[in-house]
């Protein structure tokens, strides 16, 4: 079985599958940890009960999402060794320390203070508890810093040399860490995490407002989330545009694939809105184009020449169709977020933020938009980097372990089955938590003893489950 399969293709599929599942959770917990810190700070500052109720409500959701992020993250940290041993040997001296710093500065901080955050409010008091919440939030951001530095170095490698064994060696750590694409990628991803969380919080708030417009908790969370969407969606579009210009400078082939530019254009490239990229024939079939707009966006001049994939050897082409479409999905989601932000601002100014059922339905529908955009964005940048793991320097086929296809296929099937079971259950529990509105005296996971019923007494839990069946 699987003897005829390509082990490297299977290893890539495994990476894509496990990475896609994993990134969902950090994207959500980076934003949610910050949101929890803001809620607790507001509670400490104002003493208003609604803030601590919201804090306890979202804390339970955070605990479940965080656990799924942890277990899927450990898989990632060992997958480099099992499936990409050649990459680990060659790139380990550069990437390894960045990831080790992520563990030392971020993972321990998050894990070390998570227990106090979840169970410790009555044991340590509000101020020390707020410190723990803050440490967890800061930990998530530090984690983003290091892992995006490592990924950015793979996209835009600088500050290294290569030794006799073919290993990359850092010549200048500052150049390695702060490589050319890193600042853009970090800003783009952290904003994405904040937006993703805001859309979930906003959707949950809107869901409960559709049922009862007068609930204090949902009103507050909905308003906060819509502010985030209104303010950050346009900033994110600008940040993404800047990131794209940076990519054009350092990874032009990726941009060619994203834009579907198989052919060079001497006097102004069109913007292909939609079409079917045909890798074999080297053209986009059924293309719908806006003349000159591609050059306007990327070069800020309608007649600027743009090179296409016809200037690049075919063996260095990334898979164009995937890159082209994932990019469009990401941009589409971004525009929808902008629309939601503007629509909510309009309603807010008209004084109908809590009354517009249309707005609430739109917000509920947008719940998964952030996750879709994050996944599409990562697919764009990672598939667009192909056929390299370290852009232009190390090919993906030369990065894999000496694998046998049956072994990789078996582990891939095992991952698919286990992830499907575990994360489906996790999603159901998350949705169940979100389906109940926050109520006064919300029992968070914070009791004298580290025992927790998660705010649901066994009897009430059974009732909720009964209702969910």
């Amino acid at each position: 079985m699987f003897e005829g399969w390509d082990a490297v293709v299977l290893a890539r599929a495994q990476f894509a599958f496990t990475m896609s599942f994993h990134i969902i959770f950090p994207a959500f917990s980076i934003g949610l940890a910050s949101y929890l810190a803001v809620l607790e700070a507001l509670w400490l500052a104002t003493g208003r009960e609604v803030y601590i109720n919201l804090f306890q409500y979202w804390l339970k959701i955070f605990a479940v999402a965080f656990a799924m992020g942890v277990v899927s993250g450990i898989v990632m940290s060992y997958q480099f060794g099992t499936n990409w041993s050649a990459f680990s040997d060659k790139v380990g001296p550069v990437i390894g320390p960045l990831m080790a710093y992520e563990v030392l500065t971020a993972f321990f901080l998050e894990a070390g203070f998570l227990g106090v955050m979840l169970f410790g409010l009555k044991r340590v008091g509000p101020r020390l508890h707020f410190l723990a919440t803050l440490m967890v939030a800061i930990g998530t951001l530090i984690s983003a810093f290091w892992i995006l530095s490592a990924n950015s170095w793979m996209q835009t490698p600088t500050g290294h040399t290569v030794n006799a064994d073919g290993q990359f060696i850092a010549a200048d750590w500052l150049k390695v860490i702060f490589n050319p694409s890193f600042p853009y990628r970090l800003v783009h991803m952290v904003l994405a995490a904040y937006l993703t969380t805001a859309l979930v919080v906003g959707a949950v708030g809107a869901w409960h407002l559709l049922r009862d417009r007068h609930l204090a908790g949902p009103r507050v969370m909905f308003s906060m989330a819509m502010w985030m969407a209104t303010l950050v969606a346009p900033i994110q579009i600008f940040a993404g545009d800047q990131h794209g210009l940076n990519t054009l400078e350092h990874q032009p082939v990726k941009i060619m694939a994203m834009e579907g530019h198989f052919h060079s254009h001497k006097d102004g490239a069109p913007l292909i809105l939609f079409g079917l990229p045909n890798q074999q024939a080297g053209r986009v079939d059924y293309a719908i184009e806006v003349p000159k707009l591609g050059s306007v966006i990327l070069k800020h001049s309608p007649d600027a020449p743009m090179a296409g994939l016809d200037t690049v050897p075919r063996e260095n082409w990334p898979p164009v169709a995937i890159t082209f479409w994932s990019f469009r999905i990401m941009v589409g989601m971004g525009l929808l977020m902008l629309a939601l932000g503007l629509f909510s601002l309009l309603m807010r100014l008209r004084g109908t933020l809590y009354d517009s059922r249309l707005l609430h339905m739109f917000a509920v529908a947008m719940a998964p938009a952030g996750f879709i955009a994050v996944l599409a964005g990562w697919i764009t940048t990672e598939v667009g980097r192909q056929p390299f793991t370290v852009y232009g320097l190390l090919r993906t086929v030369d990065s894999a372990s000496p694998l046998a296809a049956p072994a990789v296929a078996s582990s891939l099937i095992a991952f698919i089955i286990v992830y499907f079971v575990v994360f489906t259950a996790g999603m159901i529990y998350l949705l169940r938590l979100m389906a109940a509105p926050p109520h006064p005296g919300e029992e968070g996971p914070s009791h004298d003893a580290p025992i927790r019923t998660a705010g649901i007494t066994p009897a009430a839990g059974a009732a909720v489950e009964g209702a969910a069946q």
């Binding site: 479940v64 656990a67 799924m68 942890v70 277990v71 993250g73 450990i74 060992y78 060794g81 099992t82 041993s85 050649a86 680990s88 040997d89 060659k90 380990g92 001296p93 990437i95 390894g96 320390p97 990831m99 080790a100 710093y101 563990v103 030392l104 500065t105 993972f107 321990f108 227990g115 106090v116 169970f119 044991r123 030794n163 290993q167 060696i169 850092a170 750590w173 372990s401 000496p402 046998a404 072994a407 991952f415 286990v418 575990v422 259950a425 996790g426 529990y429 938590l433 009791h447 004298d448 580290p450 025992i451 927790r452 019923t453 998660a454 649901i456 007494t457 066994p458 059974a462 489950e465």
Partner: protein, 335 residues
């Protein structure tokens, strides 16, 4: 080249990280292994709550061990992980089930039993896989150039199964003595009883692994029995005998804290024995720590982080344990 030998420094750092992982996640996993022996729901609630606030920090040492190995000894990481492909994947999948069970079992009454089974199954699978991986490393793996060149089933031998079973017993003992320390009443009494059972089993396992190891390779035999090495190496079994006597006494006297910490000492001695066997190889019989070492500037860059941050990490981890000190009361916190 600077005066200190970076490869030796890093070998100790990685060894330290792995040891901290083994003892800290060891008792977490041990609780999972003991789960079927505590069928009552209220007992299971208490057992889980003794580690719920700290398990995530404990598991992070595993990420440091793996990440640190990739960074400090990339060649060893690149050879060992494919060599241990199946045990590693099984361990990861086991840890997935074990980790989410901590959260999921509180979210449902209908499926709680399923997550209890996942907690047990994940814990025992991950432990077996870790023990098998240890045995497979001790046996040595087939290396050609800078790659693993053995088969997909090389890791599976009677010796690696022995080390796998031995680790399950060892973690169960850690879990049982942890419960003695953290619980009271009937639950603690049962934990005492189980501590006796698993201590005797662990002594048998230590003896079996100790007797089998020197027969794996002539190098191990010489390391342990050649004169004058034997003067030093003999201290290990002598210390094991002393600690065992103390441990038996502490169980007989029904002490709270001693059994757990003496079990840690037993683990430390077994671990030192492994180090004596392996040094200076990081992949026994084929790659030494110097051959596998990352370039000096990678190791130095990380040394700053380790020197500055590990004490800090140990500090706030200790604080978290301090916050949740004392016995966990059954039933408290239920509303």
């Amino acid at each position: 080249m600077i005066a200190i030998d970076l490869a030796i420094v890093w070998a100790f750092i990685i060894a330290f990280a792995v040891f901290v992982y083994v003892v800290m996640d060891g008792f977490d996993l041990g609780l999972g292994i003991l789960f079927p022996l505590f069928p009552e729901k209220h007992d299971r609630d208490v057992i889980m709550n003794t580690v719920a606030p700290v398990w995530d920090g404990n598991e992070t040492w595993l990420v440091l061990g793996g990440g640190g190995l990739m960074a400090a000894f990339p060649l060893a990481y690149a050879v060992l992980m494919p060599a241990l492909y199946t045990p590693m994947i099984v361990m990861l999948l086991g840890l997935v089930f074990r980790g989410v069970a901590f959260e999921f079992r509180w979210r449902t009454t209908r499926e709680r039993n399923k997550w209890d089974v996942a907690f047990f199954g994940g814990s025992i699978l991950a432990t077996l896989a870790q023990g098998i991986a240890l045995g497979a490393i001790l046996q040595g793996v087939h290396v050609e150039g800078r790659h693993y060149a053995g088969g997909w089933w090389d890791w599976l031998t009677p010796f690696s199964i022995l080390t796998g079973v031995a680790l399950v017993i060892g973690y169960a003992l850690l879990g049982a003595t942890w419960l003695v320390m953290k619980t009271e009443g009937e639950l603690r009494d049962r934990a005492y009883h189980l501590s006796w059972v698993f201590l005797l089993a662990m002594l048998g396992a230590i003896a079996a692994v100790s007797l089998a190891t020197p027969f794996l390779h002539v190098q191990y035999t010489q390391r342990w029995f050649a004169w004058p090495n034997v003067l030093l190496t003999a201290q290990v079994p002598i210390s094991v005998a002393v600690i065992t006597a103390l441990l038996l006494r502490s169980l007989a006297k029904k002490y709270d804290y001693q059994p757990f910490f003496l079990t840690l000492a037993l683990f430390a001695l077994s671990y030192a024995g492994l180090g004596i066997s392996m040094f200076p190889y990081i992949v026994p019989q084929s790659i030494t720590i110097w051959q596998a070492a990352a370039p000096a500037n990678s190791q130095i860059f990380m040394l700053f982080g380790v020197a500055g941050l590990i004490p800090l990490i140990l500090g706030y981890t200790a604080w978290a344990y301090w916050v949740f000190r004392g016995k966990v009361k059954p039933g408290s916190g239920y509303h």
